[in-house]
Symmetry: C2
Subunit: 386 residues, 2 copies
């Protein structure tokens, strides 16, 4: 196999030498792990057997490069593999393709961490609001933010809006659609968003607070952006999106759209296996922290430890860490642990997360009886006393 | 907890009684599996504790319903759970959300199979070409179709187009971009697609055959449709998309767009964990067969057994089965097993798949020496003798 001088020269003219690094955890014995690391270098780039790649720039710079390799535990190895930024610079879709495209089909390879240099981060404006922007918008300088979900699926827009009003009266900062409430015939998007936005606005006028209604815009690819713009027109103050259902780039599109200019919360629906698959997938902090933030989420929902899901405390702390660690000049975002949270767990969460998190309590706010405003006030009172 | 009469009446006016069914495989002992089945019914719909859902239509019709439950193997149970079509009728995104949204985060729940009634299938036009349409387009009535990938990443558009020309001269039916070749600076989409389409067209004029160049349109959400239309203008004869990277709805959008009117092949990049995660995720036939077809893929790529990936023969046969089993009036599509395939494995594949599959040989066509046309002719000759 040989390729033309023209092709080689052209490639040389475009490669700047900058590389991003992916840390992979590889399960197996050392020989197998070393073979897997070598295989990743080919599979994620040239998809060509190594012996068919002739000497030259493709072999030297396009094929991934094992920069480091070492033990990471019993039967576990860590490989740091670098790729030329030009292989994945075009968009998040291609970045994910190089990081974990074909190898997602191969067992025992897990993406642990990313190291993204300036040349790659330059393509991402990241979160529009971030922690500081969201606090300012909501007028909540110090304590954890509060969030609840409008539910259950099956209620009419009027009933949902009634809930929104009562939660807003009680002072909940972010009142979001449950992620399963979308554009069903019994609760269509347009009517629901209009009524909920109006309800929260009315409550705000009564309380003097700045609660926001967060509309779920997860849906058809060709409608997400229009839905978000429409939600804004109708008075929604924030947006909810499930990137694993819509594709991660939808998040980027919403965050970058100046006509929308609303905070976006990422919800983990459909993508859970990516984190929970043990020796495969993408580590929790990278998936829910780094990637959501890179795509422009201002807050990232994930199931808190000790709730009705399976994440460990360590995994949750890792996610929270990734929401604020240095990532170029991208703003830190809010971790939003939820999933069966109750007001009673607030103290423990403050202890683990500090004050920079979104306390997401859904059904837990219905547990103490039908007066949602009172239940919300009780939660806020508890938070403010802490 | 109580909800208004108005809300209940409104819901009643919209529910037609039709339900779709999802078969879940649940790992654990029977008590745990039964509890998981009950939990799925709530988690995927109301996201509300069962004891907080009052009697009424939400409890009766919106909450999922365990229709059947039984043993499926040692420590494995199968639950058939039905959901009202109205919970998920709006689009594929919401359908996936109800089928496997939040429970993707819970271990030991695997989607085995879907049973989609007319009221739900009515929202999907499915594959535009299907097996018959693709055979007609390519002028290949009987034998398996052939497909190869232009690679490796790093080559210039001119070099890639040269490959395309030589493969087309050799009679390969579908000459596709490698899924990692996207819109890199060293091989930009516009220039590559124009040159490859021209090259294949030129070869067709020489051979009298009807090879097509398949352009990879995987990329930013706001560019996929435009890229596909542009590819068509430039002369591409088919499209490649990675739905797990772009969101499944991108596939539907391409398939439904009359201005595009090109066959679409779905590639499994990034979504592998969904199938390979064992006791979680979505079973191979449903993920690569049913869902890709539902969204409108005319062909679905997956790693063949015995190649460089890990799928078993049974899993592959299951996928092929799902590409043609009855799915409303949706056309059967082509299974496209690939991933380290060589011409030598053709006989075995014919034996397993019959003649209705796409023989996807990538690097295997480079193995026998640099004359790609000769290598392609050898493959076609072998196929035609069988």
């Amino acid at each position: 196999m040989e390729w033309s001088r023209e092709s080689e020269d052209r490639l040389a003219s475009f490669l700047g030498g900058e590389r991003f690094r992916v840390w992979y955890l590889l399960s197996g014995d050392e020989a197998r792990a070393r073979a897997m690391a070598a295989d990743i270098c080919l599979e994620q780039t040239v998809e060509f057997p190594g012996d068919l790649v002739p000497p030259g720039l493709i072999k030297d710079a396009i094929v991934g490069r094992v920069e480091s390799f070492g033990a990471a535990g019993p039967g576990l190895f860590r490989a740091g593999i670098s790729f030329a930024v030009e292989t994945a610079q075009s968009d998040i879709v291609q970045l994910l393709n190089v990081i974990y495209g074909n190898i997602s089909i191969k067992p025992d390879i897990r993406v642990e961490r990313l190291e993204l240099p300036a040349g790659l981060l330059a393509g991402y404006s990241g979160p529009r609001f971030g922690r500081e922007g969201l606090r300012k918008l909501l007028g909540v300088p110090g304590r954890p933010l509060t969030c609840t979900a409008l539910k259950p699926m099956g209620l009419s827009p009027g009933e949902i809006a009634g809930q929104a009003y009562r939660f807003a009266l009680g002072g909940i900062d972010i009142i979001k659609d449950d992620h399963g409430i979308q554009d069903q015939v019994f609760c269509p998007f347009e009517e629901r968003v209009a009524r909920c936005a109006e309800a929260v606005d009315r409550a705000n006028r009564e309380t003097g607070l700045r609660s926001v209604y967060m509309a779920n815009v997860t849906g058809r690819m060709d409608r997400i952006q229009a839905s978000a713009r429409r939600a804004k027109e109708l008075g929604a103050g924030a947006l909810l999106l499930c990137p694993s259902l819509t594709g991660f780039d939808a998040l980027r599109l919403l965050a970058e759209d100046r006509a929308i200019d609303l905070p976006v919360m990422a919800h983990p629906s459909f993508g859970g296996v990516m984190a929970t698959s043990g020796t495969s997938g993408i580590a929790h902090p990278t998936l829910y922290g780094t990637l959501m933030r890179l795509c422009g989420a201002d807050a990232t929902v994930y199931p808190n430890f000790g709730g009705r899901f399976s994440f460990t405390k360590e995994e949750c702390v890792g996610i929270a860490g990734a929401t604020s660690e240095r990532l170029g000049s991208l703003k830190p975002i809010f971790p939003a642990p939820g999933g069966g949270m109750t007001p009673e767990r607030t103290a423990e969460m403050l202890d683990v997360y500090g004050k920079d998190f979104i306390l997401l309590v859904g059904a837990g706010l219905h547990r103490n009886g039908p007066d949602l405003t009172a239940n919300a006030r009780q939660l806020l009172g508890m938070l403010e006393r802490m």
